[in-house]
């Protein structure tokens, strides 16, 4: 019963370091000591289990959470959650949040001089199906300035939080839009050393998923860590 199959480490240079000074907040918010490498035990390969009772159908349609419709360009965002071994991750809880079409968050500390939208909260959640598929209907978020450095702007993005099978698979990331001219200027994107890994955070225009005469669509597939090939007795090299 103590035999668990651990997860492989992410491929080199696909993940940001904790300290990345161009993103100023990391300077005081990154650990200064090396992390302690630990084996995967039952604690790390298990994690919270969510079910369909945890999400409402309206949770995945951010355009239908108020009496009126939000302003902005309606979009479908869909894709699959897979692991590195190409296996679908079923019943994964995805939480998503975003700015409105004007680039403003419904949050007390966002004082960007752009209008709030009374018909848009900017939060959704969905559970992946048996094939790992998910789908949101929302509006395209606007870019917005932040105070990281002079004239700093965040490219349009959606925040994603994903619970996989075990806590070792937990992932929080951001999805970007193809062709956004702000991407090369963004410290968040540039914190990822590998250029191909950066590009995988950029969704692709998804003609097949468009809703004719109603909404354009973007595809964003998410890959969580994969299991080691063989079970091991909670030891890792």
């Amino acid at each position: 019963m103590s035999i668990v199959t651990g997860y492989r480490r992410p491929y080199f240079e696909t993940q940001p370091a904790y300290l990345f000074p161009p993103y100023r907040s990391t300077v005081k918010r990154s650990p200064s000591r090396p992390l302690v490498v630990v084996p995967h035990t039952l604690t790390e390969v298990t994690g919270p289990v969510f079910g369909y009772e945890d999400v409402q159908p309206t949770d995945s349609d951010l355009t239908r959470q108020h009496d009126g419709e939000p302003l902005g360009e309606r979009i479908v965002v869909s894709g699959r959650v897979l692991d590195e071994n190409s296996r679908p991750v079923a019943h994964a809880l995805i939480e998503m949040w975003q700015a409105n079409a004007a680039g403003r968050y419904r949050h007390a500390v966002d004082d960007h001089d752009a209008p709030l939208d009374p018909n848009f909260s900017g939060a959704g959640r969905v559970l992946t199906d048996a094939e790992g598929r998910y789908k949101f209907m929302t509006i395209k978020p606007g870019a917005y300035p932040w105070r990281n450095h002079y004239n700093a702007w965040r490219p349009s993005h959606l925040h994603f939080s994903i619970f996989g099978i075990g806590v070792a698979q937990r992932l929080v990331t951001q999805m970007y839009f193809p062709g956004d001219p702000l991407l090369p200027y963004d410290p968040m994107v540039r914190s990822i050393p590998d250029e191909r890994a950066r590009q995988r955070l950029v969704s692709s225009f998804d003609w097949e998923a468009t809703v004719p005469d109603f909404a354009l669509a973007f595809r964003f597939d998410i890959v969580l860590r994969g299991r080691d090939a063989t079970p091991m007795e909670s030891t890792r090299s």
């Binding site: 990391t26 005081k28 918010r29 650990p31 992390l35 302690v36 630990v38 289990v49 949050h107």
Partner: protein, 189 residues
């Protein structure tokens, strides 16, 4: 076919928008068996300032040492009312809070039992990747033989141990410090 893990990005300062729905500070409704405890503390940055825009997530076994998860094949009872997941969004003082039950012991490497512990994940603006750590309980004799705690340099182990407070019965305090002389030990999981 082999894919590569999607890159992590920070949860940013507005995580509350997306994460408030599953903020779960009380994990154990009436009827869940086990010793009732509270776990609170402050999350602070390299200047000792409170981090007021973070999420602290916990994952734990029930009082019998069984996870509510299909991969836990131990012959121990599941507590139907206890999922074992908590999330607290920090307040203006950087404080998180949980009311839960003290977890039982779960197996570790080689089948030896681990000391009672709770897995902790922290997310916030400024963290490009979430951080993993664990919290153990003061005065638990099993701590001395815990296989994960023993990987931590002796002088830093205290950063992973919640202290009993002088207050209510079962009240534990545990602070999370990102930097400094008593910087919390974080794990490469």
């Amino acid at each position: 076919m082999s894919l590569l893990t999607t890159s992590s990005q920070t949860a940013g300062p507005y995580l509350r928008i997306g994460m408030a729905r599953f903020a779960i500070e009380e994990l154990a409704p009436p009827g869940v068996s086990g010793e009732r405890i509270t776990l609170t503390g402050r999350f602070t940055d390299g200047d000792g300032k409170p981090i007021d825009d973070a999420a602290v997530e916990i994952w734990q076994a029930n009082a019998q040492g069984k996870y509510a998860h299909p991969e836990d094949g131990q012959d121990k009872p599941i507590d139907a009312l206890f999922r074992g997941f908590g999330r607290s969004l920090t307040d203006a003082e950087g404080r998180y809070r949980f009311a839960t039950i003290r977890p039982g012991r779960v197996p570790g490497p080689g089948g030896a039992l681990q000391a009672p512990h709770i897995a902790v994940t922290v997310l916030s603006r400024g963290l490009l990747k979430h951080l993993f750590t664990r919290v153990y309980f003061a005065d638990d004799p099993a701590n001395a033989e815990d296989p994960v705690l023993r990987l931590v340099p002796v002088e830093r182990r205290t950063t992973l141990i919640a202290a009993r407070t002088g207050g209510a019965k079962g009240a534990f305090e545990w602070n999370i410090r990102l930097q400094g002389v008593d910087e919390t030990v974080f794990f490469d999981v």
